[in-house]
Symmetry: C2
Subunit: 187 residues, 2 copies
DNA sequence: TTAGTAACTAACCGATAGTTTAGTTATATA
DNA sequence: TATATAACTAAACTATCGGTTAGTTACTAA
């Protein structure tokens, strides 16, 4: 009955996500978003409600993007080898977007750790917890490991992912690969 | 010839540093700084010039604080064991301040990675580079390692420090120790 | 063709950001 | 004790923040 949107919400959301990814939530202003998304404030607010709403949808969009490699980790059955593949796939995601900004989930976890925003924290924590649980599950497939070893190694790999997120900011593929290989060397 | 300062610059700088450490640069406002430091804007500006100036001095102050463990790493002669001690000492620093905000240098590196502020970046990078160089030096003390292995392991440990910074945000000493032990297990 | 409606532009909102300044108070020295 | 000077308070500054709204434009469906 009326005028058509001149932009595609999926397309502009992707652009917003990349900007938030690069700069974090606080540093990214509405003005920057207008410029990057190529639409003006009114359109942003009518489509996403608020800056925070746009950020939330950006994080959800990011989670969808990495969901494929998460599913792969979940559905494969090669134990620890799956986790290693997951590490390699994680860095591919960053390369894909052309960003060198680590992991949006990790970045957001860091930026919001001291803030009071349960909804965003829950969004992040659910991903983190699922990942750690999956690591435990994979490690358990090796029946030679006792329970304590499994927990220690899962904890280790979980924290090693943070090192990986940092590594993926630097454009040196060889160093990243070395890091992954070293991490899995003696598990 | 005139009135005395009612505050000690070292004391208020320490408070500012802790606030920046907890919240990052952008999120910390002058109002928050006034409250935390217990002095008003005028005093902050007369002592530190600007918000950015205060932040710079906070980072320098932080570097001084961790300098002792850095010197220890430098002056000891137990090779890889020194690096491990350095890891353990790093997490003690966080415990000491009562903060669970990882490493201010790492946090700042992350927050400023996309910004154009060469002075702050240089301050961070010099520390990062010195640390990596020192890791290489320590690893070289083991003459059984060839050069390539040394570089790979230094790279690995350097990135593992990022995982440690993330770990130190979580108040679980056992998990942190497990992580460190796993990291050094088979080097 | 036209009336209704949603998408658009652009100016505006109050709040707050970092920063400065005018005016006041306290103190060290002469 | 008087005075010079620096530390203080508090209000104002400009710019920008996230968010809103009045008015215009374009398109769909009747």
């Amino acid at each position: 009955m009326a005028r058509k949107k001149e932009y595609n919400e999926g397309v502009v959301l992707e652009k917003a996500m990349n900007l938030f990814w690069r700069n974090g939530y606080e540093t990214t202003s509405m003005k920057m978003l207008e410029k990057e998304m190529g639409i003006n404030k009114f359109s942003i607010y009518s489509s996403f409600g608020s800056k925070r709403g746009l950020f939330l949808e950006s994080v959800v969009n990011y989670k969808k993007k990495i969901n494929s490699i998460f599913e792969e980790l979940k559905n494969s059955n090669n134990g620890i080898e799956d986790i290693k593949d997951y590490f390699y796939n994680s860095i591919k995601i960053c390369k894909l977007t052309g960003n060198q900004k680590g992991c949006l989930v990790t970045n957001t976890y860091n930026e919001f750790s001291e803030k009071e925003d349960d909804q965003i924290k829950e969004l992040i924590n659910s991903y983190m917890n699922n990942l750690k649980e999956l690591f435990i599950e994979k490690l358990k497939q090796d029946s030679s490991k006792d329970e304590l070893t499994v927990l220690k190694q899962a904890n280790y790999l979980f924290l090693a992912k943070n090192g990986l997120a940092a590594a993926s900011r630097v454009n040196n593929e060889r160093e990243i690969e070395d890091y992954i290989e070293m991490t899995f060397k003696n598990l």
